[in-house]
Assembly symmetry: C2
Homo-oligomer: 139 residues x 2
């Protein structure tokens, strides 16, 4: 017997659908209580505060930035969200106590150079990877 064609969802892109196009699961999803969405924040790291000026010659510190904010469903396209993060935030909506939201973390990092004394007292200039947050997203 010919299987009746099932009613289809209006799915245009090949990406996972966002909740606002999912009939029947969520009627009304708001940003949770106006808390700030995931974004990059200023953070100057002072090597003096860290007590590192014993071995770090330069710089005295640098702008490292950090990521903080809500990753609430539906995840905006600017949240750099992975498919997994979209699914996790959907599941979080259904089981908030069992599964956490996706978290706001760096999605792009860059290096910074540090001049320092090594263990043999040589002066070394080294490029340290993943020191500066360039972009944040929900992961």
């Amino acid at each position: 017997a010919v299987r009746p064609l099932r009613r289809r969802q209006p799915k245009k892109s090949n990406e996972l659908p966002q909740a606002n196009r999912l009939p029947g699961i969520f009627d009304d999803v708001r940003g949770s209580h106006g808390r700030q969405v995931c974004r990059r924040h200023e953070l100057y790291v002072s090597f003096q505060d860290l007590g590192w000026l014993d071995w770090v010659i330069a710089p005295q510190g640098y702008s490292a930035y950090y990521c903080e904010g809500e990753c609430s469903f539906p995840l905006d396209s600017c949240m750099n969200a992975t498919n997994h993060a979209i699914l996790q935030s959907l599941v979080h909506l259904m089981k908030p106590n069992a599964v956490p939201k996706a978290c706001c973390a760096p999605t792009k990092l860059s290096a910074t150079s540090v001049l320092y004394y090594d263990s043999s007292n040589n002066v070394i200039l080294r490029k340290h990877r993943n020191m500066v947050v360039k972009a944040c997203g929900c992961h």
Copy 2:
């Protein structure tokens, strides 16, 4: 005049030092109150629960896993921590209210294939990227 040589830290690797080798900043850093460290947790995502069986033919769901747990200083080597995460958790120790801890997020994801109806009712088999958490870390 010859500049007196400054007292050097015992720095072997070219990675940023972990706090336990930093004299004078932190005397005693414990895991915070025995909370679980960042790690991967089981999570089966059911497409039925998501109400997607209207357009997803197979599978009925899949093991997506998720990341959760503490990213407290000092970050263990198995935390896959970036240099930025190490620095952020150090700064968090000094200014816990100003800067959050690094967050426990996926560091490795893999794809999974889904058979579904597209918007023109064609049956499509597509490999969706970043659907399954393979490893977690502090970022």
